[in-house]
């Protein structure tokens, strides 16, 4: 492990998301015309194809279900301490929206399919925070 993990570079479309994570909130983009949750926020609406899309950035409840996971044993990126486990989570507001983040309970616990998880945040440098997931029900 050397260096630091890649720092997000916020842009016009992603800035509200990164501002949200640094406050400890999961804020996703919803199309102002058709209501589609677009993650990542696309330059046009992927559902209603509005080329002049205006997103409403909405705070999500932060809970969801585990759909899959991987254990990263060798990081190809700088700055990560290995091993760590990443989960693929379907969020409750729209299970078609899937987020990927570190599973904070590993290695004490291993995820199972459909396990309920709640978003938490790993702090990065420069005030950025990145979503991670913890088991909703703790023993």
């Amino acid at each position: 492990m050397s260096g630091h993990p890649p720092q997000p570079v916020a842009d016009a479309l992603s800035a509200p998301y990164w501002e949200g994570t640094s406050r400890g909130e999961l804020v996703l983009a919803r199309c102002g015309r058709c209501g589609f949750l677009s993650h990542p926020p696309d330059v046009v609406c992927p559902r209603c194809h509005d080329p002049h899309v205006r997103y409403r950035f909405e705070r999500m409840g932060g809970s969801g279900s585990v759909r899959s996971w991987v254990i990263i044993r060798q990081s190809f990126l700088p700055g990560f301490e290995v091993p760590f486990l990443l989960v693929d989570v379907a969020i409750d507001e729209d299970p078609d929206v899937r987020l990927i983040g570190r599973y904070t309970d590993w290695p004490d616990a291993t995820p199972v399919l459909d396990e309920r998880v709640l978003v938490t945040f790993d702090l990065l440098d420069d005030g950025f925070a990145v979503p991670a997931f913890a088991r909703e029900v703790r023993p």
Binding site: P5, P8, V9, A10, S68, V70, F76, D96, V112
Partner: protein, 397 residues
């Protein structure tokens, strides 16, 4: 259903280099030599070649310089160095790299843009770690995945494969049947990086985990090598020395739902797969299960399960049982010969070439000791998802 009429284009010759794990020799020199051999094999001279088509994508996430003619070879580079007067020079960018490149070649021939088209693929294994990146900041698509450490093809396919294992209650050990079959067949291919090196089930089970649930032997070996095919019209093909192999259809997938970069949820693959099976039926008049020699793509072993399911050889979630029951075996006439050419796991990372070459060799009657009886074939190639398929038929005249 009966096979559809050929599209009017046929493969009339080929050449393949030795596949080696690493080489410092410029990839362009090797590719030029292979191209010259393929043209001679087709009974033509470089002057006859007026079309070029390829996909020169390097499937590495690492920070490697891409130098045309050294670490990658585009059609433009090859056309410039072969010594001919091309009228059509193209590169494919889209779903299914090799099927896309063949699609461009067939289109060029059908439209009259070119008469004889060279389709090539050249692969290089760069020095150092294949996927290691020095990324210090993540902009654009990378900002959504790299800050949490989701990066590169191993994590991408590992996520899809774990979802498969969990949803279908599949034991990871069943995959040994895929890898052993690819390596058994690859061990018989003279130019394979794994020539004479078959594997046992124990070898697979002992293979170290890289990104759970992906172990080292679930991945094809990055290699240095080149292959080329010559395509021309069915009419001109009749006058050339080898028995032509007709292209009877190209089926490509479309992009699925907008996602995080490099995130391939299992249902996205199934959705793309259902569409490609329908498309194959439409364009070839054959259901994929009626084809004599389907060659599935195995750049990662788990893609074999997906291809077996989406082509219809079993239901979704059942391929691990089909494989565990001995259902894929090129030496058993009652089993499926879907990896008879050794695939990527048995030849090295040649990105769809082993599948297409097996179709060509078997349908042209040029497979030597490995010759099978087959008159229809499919060459499958990712990516993304289940990228595309080329359908072939042997010449009946």
């Amino acid at each position: 259903m009966s096979p559809a009429a050929p599209l009017g284009a046929a493969v009339v010759g080929y050449a393949h280099s030795q596949i080696v794990r690493r080489s410092d020799d410029p990839l362009g020199a090797l590719t030029l030599e292979v191209a010259q051999q393929a043209i001679a094999d087709a009974g033509l001279s470089p002057d006859d070649i007026d079309g070029f088509s390829s996909s020169s994508l390097t499937p590495s996430a690492g920070s490697h310089p891409e130098i045309d003619g050294v670490s990658t070879v585009s059609s433009t580079w090859l056309a410039q160095h072969l010594g001919c007067a091309p009228t059509f020079c193209s590169g494919f960018q889209g779903h299914g790299q090799l099927p896309g490149a063949v699609g461009l070649a067939v289109s060029a021939i059908a439209s009259g843009a070119a008469r004889h088209v060279l389709v090539h693929r050249a692969m290089h294994n760069p020095a150092g770690s294949y996927h290691r990146s020095s990324m210090s900041s993540a902009s654009g698509g990378a900002q959504w995945i790299a800050p949490q450490g989701f990066f590169g093809p191993l994590a991408m396919i590992g996520m899809t494969y774990q979802e498969y294992l969990q949803r279908h209650s599949a034991p990871r050990e069943a995959m040994a049947g895929v890898v052993v079959e690819s390596r058994k067949n690859g061990a018989r291919i003279p130019w394979s990086v794994w020539k004479d090196q078959p594997l046992s089930f124990e070898d697979y089970l002992d293979s170290p985990m890289l990104t759970d649930p992906i172990c080292r032997l679930d991945c094809d070996m990055p290699v240095h090598g080149a292959a080329a095919f010559v395509l021309t019209s069915a009419e001109r093909a009749a006058d050339l020395p080898h028995r032509p192999v007709h292209v009877t259809g190209i089926a490509s997938t479309a992009p699925t739902r907008w996602r995080l970069p490099q995130h391939w949820p299992l249902d996205d693959l199934y959705e793309a797969g259902a569409a490609i099976r329908d498309r194959l039926r439409q364009v070839t008049g054959l259901d994929p299960t009626e084809v004599d020699l389907p060659q599935v793509y195995d750049g990662f072993s788990s893609l074999v399960y997906i291809w077996l399911e989406v082509l219809g050889f079993c239901g979704n979630g059942e391929a691990h049982e089909l494989v565990a029951d001995g259902g894929i075996d090129s030496d058993d006439p009652t089993a499926l010969p879907v990896l008879s050419g050794g695939g990527a796991l048995g030849n090295g990372r040649m990105h769809g070439i082993p599948q297409m070459l097996e179709c060509y060799l078997q349908l042209s009657g040029r497979a030597g000791d490995r010759q099978r009886t087959a008159s229809t074939a499919l060459a499958c190639h990712a990516a993304p998802h289940v990228g595309g398929v080329i359908a072939f038929a042997s010449d009946t005249r």
